[in-house]
Point group: C2
Chain length 381, copies 2
């Protein structure tokens, strides 16, 4: 069975879907891996590294894909998918990030083309699937990098320093939303010497915040049920959000760096910092908004830009994992390899729809949209 790794089509993408160590593992399992030439170069991997791991190098995209049972990519939606679709043939399986909850039509398009699609965002949050969870991998990278972005822009150093030129006060860093990205941001800001506080609407986050050495902020407002069955933060009512914002304004006014990480899968990100709250923040303070790509947690965020509002700098980064291409590719590739190890045999993929992981991630199969969540979003019976 041939697995194809393509050179990513999405502009600005630096990562690659498998690294040579992943290829090694798959080829030892008698799977055949073909890598499009130059696919790993921006992540630090040469064609020769892939060849040494047992891969075949293909001279172009078409050669890489031709005859492959599985095609792997990082970005399988938008323009990248539109360019890729005509190159694939009926019966092939496409495994990628697809943003399916925001754009469920991707499942229909793949089904129409007879492509079996597996959307990596849909890996269930169960223990057995942790090692395949690309969202957690990306969030780990993003949380770390957000702190570096904040520290690079901050007008002060993070650590307290007692110097011959006096004592420098440590930076106050505040993390909003404490999932994987938020916890990693807490840990990284602590490492750098900041005074770190964090907030999450889920009461369970309190212990997690403490576990990475940060201080949980309590707003003393009555909470609603805040966590979905899957462990994600649940969308809150407008009234709850208003009360939260009011209590939050005072907390925000004390911070030097704020990192926001609140995302709701498939939905616009909730606004956690309004213009009114921004106006109360210290001039010179920095916001790094990790939800920039889905609308932003801050009212003034512009995705892909750094903007200034009354002296507050608001950084709205896009595709943060691509800024750490080596480690991000390692994590993504390992996630994919673990999924392939579950499904791939030398004879072909094992489509066991009794397996929750396969059932939840498969969006299209043999010309049909087969995913229950997507069928609901698409109003299919």
């Amino acid at each position: 069975m041939k697995i194809a790794v393509i050179k990513e089509i999405q502009p600005g993408e630096t990562r690659v879907a498998l690294i040579p160590a992943n290829v090694s593992k798959l080829t030892k399992g008698n799977l055949s891996v073909t890598v499009e030439t130059g696919a790993g170069i921006l992540a630090g991997f040469n064609d020769s590294d892939y060849e040494a791991a047992g891969a075949t190098i293909a001279a172009d995209l078409k050669t890489a894909i031709d005859g492959a049972e599985v095609v792997l990519s990082l970005t399988g939606h938008g323009d990248a998918l539109i360019q890729l679709l005509p190159k694939m043939t009926k019966g092939q399986t496409f495994i990628s990030m697809m943003d399916p909850l925001a754009s469920p039509a991707v499942a229909e398009i793949l089904a129409e083309h007879g492509i079996n699609g597996i959307a990596l965002e849909l890996v269930p949050r169960i223990t057995r699937a942790q090692s395949m969870d690309v969202l957690s991998s990306n969030a780990t990278i993003a949380g770390y990098k957000a702190v570096l972005m904040g520290a690079a822009s901050a007008p002060q150093l993070f650590p307290m320093m007692m110097t011959a030129a006096g004592t420098l006060k440590p930076a106050r860093v505040f993390i909003m939303g404490v999932g994987v990205a938020g916890l990693q941001a807490c840990a990284t800001a602590k490492r750098l010497g900041g005074v770190v506080e964090a907030y999450d609407i889920r009461p369970a986050a309190r212990e997690q915040i403490l576990s990475v050495g940060a201080r949980p902020v309590e707003l003393n407002i009555e909470a609603e049920n805040t966590e979905t069955k899957g462990g994600y933060a649940k969308e809150q009512s407008a009234d709850f959000i208003a009360r939260q914002q009011e209590a939050m304004a005072d907390v925000l006014a004390q911070q030097d760096v704020v990192i926001t990480t609140a995302a709701i899968p498939g939905r616009k990100a909730p606004v956690l910092i309004t213009e009114a709250q921004l106006n109360k923040m210290k001039p010179g303070s920095i916001i790094v908004d990790l939800a920039a790509e889905t609308g932003g947690n801050c009212a003034m965020t512009v995705a892909g830009e750094t903007v200034s509002h009354h002296g507050v700098t608001i950084i709205g980064p896009k595709n943060v994992p691509a800024s750490v291409p080596n480690h991000a590719s390692q994590m993504f590739g390992t996630n994919l390899t673990n999924l392939l190890t579950l499904m791939a045999t030398p004879e072909g993929l094992n489509w066991d729809f009794e397996d929750e992981i396969i059932r939840d991630t498969c969006v299209s199969y043999q010309g049909e949209v087969v995913n229950a969540r997507l069928r609901e979003l698409l109003d299919l019976p």
Copy 2:
């Protein structure tokens, strides 16, 4: 006695010579401080903050300087000095960074204009003057920030991480030159979780490297006398440098991030990384060259730019302290305040040339170049 703080003239400068806390201390000592409007704004201090600390706000540069006994600035050389000189009057004292060892003519120009000049780079490295040492303050900021620049550009995370997607190896960070900047870089890279090694030609640096948790690299080549009386690294012979470079190539080839900090006051920086060594480094590795402004420690460094050489990224930052304007101004202003506390009385400056600090830093006094080091560099008797 009136002290004037000007809005910095040098393009890209964000710092201010005194912060409101410094003004408070000086005005409590019955000194009068005038601040040019907007002088502190980029460092996070408004006119009203200065007024609350007891300063008078002047509407423009001329008003700020008129009648002042002392004029304070960060950059008192080059175009900034050329613009400032016509505004100052005979008998005024100008205290600033002046780069006097590289450009000793600054002392002659000030003397010709009847300006008494104090060059802050010349503060002696004695215990009593530590609190006035602006070079150490700047080096502290630069060492910290160099690590952030390296980490922001690196294709991998700094800390080791054991994730569900496998173990991420920590970044290997190598610091060349372990003065104040190098030690701060070691400490910051350690904080961020890197595996940190360091090298300095001064054997005494070994203990200092260990004290911040880094590993000293030994090259096992015979050393010359490597430290000046003042505690700076001494310039080495060409033969020594060649042997050092050869042994260093293997060390460099293993690194992910290299930070170079070797500067010789008033001279071109020594080349520590040659093109031949660069060619052996890992693609994707990063060099941050803190000596970029004085010619660079790396052969391919371009000051103020980020360049790439065979996949190695070489960052050559200019005026790094200005990228952390708040804390950098606090440190600079505290250094200046300590110097003023030594010299300034409500009636005027106390020019006690028996005091080593005043003797060493004063470059011009009552129309004469009075500094022994500068007279020698200028071939004055």
